[in-house]
């Protein structure tokens, strides 16, 4: 990979965009590529760079090509540029241009808006890799380590996908933005990532699972709405990214699920019926269900903040311009313009949480967030099934959206997880029961011991039902490099 002059871009960069004959993008990528490799190499600890990881690589977008499994060293991963196949005579799905042919080139009047959306989306992709860079050091199994790396390389590929759009369609500005995507670093004081949630370190594996379940799901919703874009190359890019994003959510959902499963199993084995017997449960080296609820409260509410303000002019503009649609826009039965519709949002009036109708166009963000909440509910139900099956009396719940918010109408007040207004004293008294404390963090940290032995799993987590690529859970997913 160091001999860039001779890189055959059609083989080294799997693509379905005719890269080898696209002088503009080739020239831009030649300049950007070394910086990307440099970023990757500095990020992931050396011994993992040298390890062989059983990874899925997308080499084309047809069902045969999009998931090729093989051992690969991560720096040699073939990050590709892949767009979902073009839909013939696709039209702009929403806004004032609804029904007109989808744009194949950037419309000049929306260039800056589009660029901003792509840059924000692009900024989150490498950010999560940065947040998770040290997790492999405490991986509970080779299986989990492999999943982490799979998520990482795919976030890397999603960065490539956004960079490709910037290089291909946004000229000089686009190249500068692509460079800046590598310049910003999660948690950096100099140049932090654009969204606050992406500047927090992912300190442990439970956080990682929660992150991939809740925060990556926000990413999924954003991709879903960009997949509805009237700018066709963006839509096609995001549609393909969504096929990969599903795996990230799978990692999150099964990760939390396996943690719960293990906790319930150990409780039963030790005759503990009361899930609130926290000290006894913790002494057995598993994570108590109330703590899992607290982690859920935290990650869910942080993710809600990523949707921005309840009533948003930016979102309205993007929708009206036809460059960002709603979740499943094509399945919604309305005029797709929203000029006269209303939508119900939560608001705070005289210190009370109320629902009220606002113009639907300005509530596009809220609608997406409501879709997100519905989507996030599914996994929570499945987690509860695990608890129920184990015969433990406990139910996980998504907190009310007013709880623990830093952005939006609720950011100014104090609420309990049910959405009820509470006093400062009440909040202080209960906070430790609602959100993870530092002591909780210490406890989780104490469990984070690596388990690198093939087929073995850390005490706090159950093995998966099935492995990846129809392999078993004890398959050697990572051939660790031992210096």
């Amino acid at each position: 990979m160091s001999d860039l002059i001779n890189v055959s871009y059609d083989t080294q960069i799997p693509n379905n965009v005719g890269l080898s004959s696209d002088r503009r993008v080739l020239k831009a990528l030649e300049k950007w590529h070394p910086g990307y490799l440099d970023w990757w190499n500095k990020l992931i600890p050396q011994k993992f760079q040298e390890s062989f990881v059983y990874l899925r690589t997308a080499v084309s977008v047809d069902p045969k090509g999009w998931a090729k499994f093989d051992y690969v060293k991560m720096p040699e991963y073939r990050w590709g540029v892949l767009l979902a196949p073009e839909v013939e005579s696709r039209t702009i799905p929403c806004g004032e241009h609804a029904g007109q042919p989808a744009w194949q080139e950037v419309p000049g009047e929306y260039r800056n808006m589009l660029k901003r959306l792509i840059v924000i989306q692009g900024d989150t992709e490498p950010a999560s890799v940065e947040q998770q860079r040290l997790l492999a050091l405490t991986a509970p199994s080779l299986y989990d380590m492999r999943n982490l790396f799979q998520v990482n390389v795919e976030e890397g590929r999603h960065l490539w996908a956004m960079v490709y759009l910037l290089h291909k369609y946004f000229g000089k500005d686009g190249r500068e933005e692509a460079d800046d995507l590598l310049r910003r670093q999660s948690g950096s004081e100099e140049a932090p990532r654009m969204l606050g949630a992406f500047n927090e370190e992912t300190p442990d594996w439970l956080s990682f699972f929660m992150f991939t379940y809740f925060t990556d799901r926000d990413g999924k919703m954003q991709l879903e709405s960009l997949a509805q874009s009237g700018f066709d190359p963006l839509s096609r890019t995001c549609r393909f990214m969504l096929t990969e994003e599903a795996h990230h959510m799978f990692v999150g959902e099964t990760g939390v699920g396996r943690t719960i499963e293990r906790t319930c199993q150990v409780m039963k084995e030790n005759g503990i019926d009361d899930p609130t017997e926290v000290d006894r449960i913790r002494a057995l080296g598993v994570i108590d269900l109330p703590l899992i609820q607290k982690k859920l409260n935290l990650h869910y509410t942080l993710s809600l903040d990523l949707f921005g303000q309840e009533v948003s002019t930016n979102a309205a503009n993007a929708f009206n311009a036809g460059i960002k649609g709603r979740y499943m826009e094509h399945k919604i039965d309305d005029d797709h313009k929203l000029t006269n519709d209303t939508y119900t949002v939560w608001d705070l009036e005289d210190g009370k949480v109320v629902q009220k109708d606002v113009p639907a166009l300005t509530a596009v963000n809220m609608r997406l967030r409501d879709d997100y909440t519905r989507d996030a509910m599914g996994g929570v139900k499945r987690w509860n099934k695990i608890i129920e099956k184990a015969g433990v009396d406990f139910e996980l719940k998504l907190p009310h959206e007013a709880f623990n918010r830093k952005i939006g109408v609720f950011s100014g007040g104090l609420f309990d997880p049910e959405g009820k207004v509470v006093t400062g004293a009440e909040y202080d008294a209960e906070q430790a029961n609602w959100l993870p404390t530092h002591a909780d963090g210490d406890f989780i940290q104490s469990l984070m011991k690596p388990q690198y032995e093939q087929g073995k799993f850390a005490q706090w987590i159950a093995p998966p039902k099935v492995g990846i690529d129809n392999k078993t859970g004890d398959f050697e997913y990572v051939q660790l490099y031992m210096a």
């Binding site: 002088r23 503009r24 020239k27 080139e105 950037v106 419309p107 000049g108 009047e109 260039r111 800056n112 369609y169 000229g171 000089k172």
Partner: protein, 552 residues
């Protein structure tokens, strides 16, 4: 008002003015033909004017410079008995669309500025001899003259009745020239501008509104005497004969306007006009005698006249064209050679006139309310005076490096000595000085590179262009620029550009175009003036305008 307006005319077509040439003195009579207005629906009574009157005046002033260089003093008079000029026609203003009013005022302002500057530029001094009522736009005609003489017949007066009568402003420089040029005390100016009947006789002189007040019996003789006197004192060299400003060649069709050196291509969907200037088709003449012999065919004069006409055409007849994109093709060395000949002979009357014309023309470009972009392509000739268009434009784009399948000479920008003060903007600074207001050393650095063909990277480093783009980016970036620009609100563009173009000091000129005009245009869209019951609409009905009395 969708009829196409033509700015080309000649003395055989005049309906409103006549000129009597008498050696070094020209007597210019305003004698407006009531039925000679540009549009239906009003009569040009009492020597009131509309655009048709001003187009003729602009033509006269221009021909005075080129065809009558022997003239040293021009005396502006009325050809009517009891009225000098009653100003812009109110019914015309009442009926005109906002855009037309704005363009009309802009053009009349440019014409006033032109004859006002004639004394400094080429030694032609304008005297205004007022007998009869001289009101509003009439007094503004006088204010732009270099010397104002008023008869003391106890009825003739000067006035600016716009505010009390029409609820608008004297928008052709009136308010500004009273305070800035004539230095009338502001409290007196306030009184003067709020009384309908204006000021007569001695007081007019006392307040500085006119230069001389002369008893009626001696008025004509004194005016003649003064004209002779000024002519005798004039430093303007004697010139026997001018050159003829022959009709310019042009052809209109659906795609645009085609001149001999200027090509205007209109893309209505993109709301863009591409204006391509051709370089000279022959070497520069060796001497000014040859230039005189070529007359109106001399490259830089022909180009200026064609570009001038093209700009006015776009302003008045293509209101929906939001972007004017300047391009050029030709030999930059030849362009430079033509300009250098003039600069080397800037004592010669014709060199003086052509250079001064470019100064005026470039100012006309500066105040054109369209997004201006200059595009420096391969084979272009943005050299010397033509490179001023890069600095007049809101942005410029330049080709960098080789372009596939394009074997035209590599794009360059060349500066000439003329770029450093010969064509000042309304703010009194050169375009380069204005451009580099925050980095004067850049102007000096640029001066050191006069004559050098600067390719993209050098031009970029010297700060002469906004963006340089290579083969790979060019097409897409240009498309995006045009699309984005055309999508913005035309009002916001006009306002933004007008604010950004004129950094630096205020002058009377910038105050007229920036301050007076902006306020006037604001009033023009307010109901107090132009609403159904506004003063402008009700004028002549006997009813006063109804005002919304809230101050804004």
């Amino acid at each position: 008002m969708s009829k196409s307006i033509d700015f080309q005319t000649d003395p055989s077509q005049y309906r409103h003015w006549r000129v009597e040439y008498d050696g070094p003195v020209a007597n210019l009579y305003m004698d407006v033909d009531e039925d000679g207005g540009l549009f239906e629906g009003y009569k040009l009574k009492l020597n009131s004017y509309d655009l048709s009157v001003d187009i003729e005046l602009a033509d006269i002033v221009q021909r005075m410079r080129f065809e009558h260089p022997e003239v040293k003093v021009v005396v502006m008079r009325s050809g009517k008995d009891r009225v000098f000029c009653s100003g812009a026609n109110i019914r015309m203003l009442g009926g005109a669309e906002h855009g037309h009013k704005v363009n009309f005022c802009k053009f009349t302002n440019e014409t006033r500025n032109t004859y006002e500057a004639a004394e400094d530029d080429s030694g032609q001094k304008y005297i205004c001899a007022i007998r009869g009522a001289c009101a509003g736009g009439g007094y503004e005609l006088a204010l732009a003259c270099n010397h104002i003489m008023l008869t003391d017949d106890s009825t003739s007066s000067v006035s600016l009745p716009e505010v009390p009568l029409l609820a608008v402003l004297p928008g052709t420089g009136g308010l500004t020239r009273v305070t800035d040029k004539r230095r009338v005390r502001r409290d007196r100016a306030d009184v003067f501008s709020s009384v309908e009947e204006g000021v007569r006789g001695k007081r007019a002189q006392e307040w500085g509104l006119v230069d001389e007040v002369i008893s009626n019996s001696r008025f004509d003789a004194t005016v003649d005497e003064r004209a002779r006197e000024f002519a005798a004192r004039s430093a303007k060299p004697d010139v026997d004969k001018g050159i003829a400003l022959t009709p310019i060649e042009r052809h209109f069709d659906a795609g645009g306007v085609h001149y001999s050196l200027v090509e205007v291509a209109i893309d209505r969907d993109a709301r863009t006009a591409t204006v391509t200037l051709s370089g000279p088709d022959a070497d520069a003449p060796a001497t000014m005698d040859e230039v005189v012999a070529q007359g109106a065919d001399f490259y830089l004069l022909r180009l200026a006249r064609e570009l001038d006409d093209a700009i006015l055409h776009l302003r008045f007849n293509e209101p929906e064209i939001g972007i004017v994109s300047f391009h050029s093709q030709g030999d930059p060395a030849q362009v430079m050679a033509h300009e250098e000949l003039l600069l080397a002979n800037d004592e010669h009357w014709l060199a003086v006139e052509i250079l001064a014309y470019w100064k005026r023309l470039l100012k006309r470009v500066d105040v054109t309310s369209r997004s201006l972009v200059a595009v420096v392509e391969h084979g272009s000739c943005f050299a010397g005076v033509l490179s001023e268009l890069l600095f007049a434009a809101d942005r410029s784009y330049m080709m960098e490096g080789e372009f596939e399948g394009d074997n035209r000479p590599t794009a360059t920008v060349r500066l000439g000595a003329g770029n450093f003060g010969r064509y000042p903007m309304g703010n009194g600074l050169s375009r380069l000085e204005t451009r580099f207001l925050g980095a004067p050393e850049m102007v000096e650095a640029a001066r050191g590179r006069i004559g050098e063909p600067l390719e993209a990277e050098e031009a970029d480093e010297a700060g002469l262009v906004t963006f340089i783009l290579d083969d790979i980016d060019w097409e897409d970036e240009m498309r995006i620029f045009y699309e984005e620009r055309a999508s913005f609100s035309p009002d916001a563009m006009t306002a933004m550009e007008a604010n950004l173009r004129f950094a630096g000091p205020e002058t009377m000129e910038t105050r007229i175009f920036g301050r007076l005009t902006a306020w006037q245009n604001w009033i023009f869209i307010r109901p107090n003036a132009t609403g159904e019951d506004g003063a402008l609409q009700r004028y002549g009905t006997g009813q006063r305008g109804e005002f919304d009395m809230r101050r804004v």
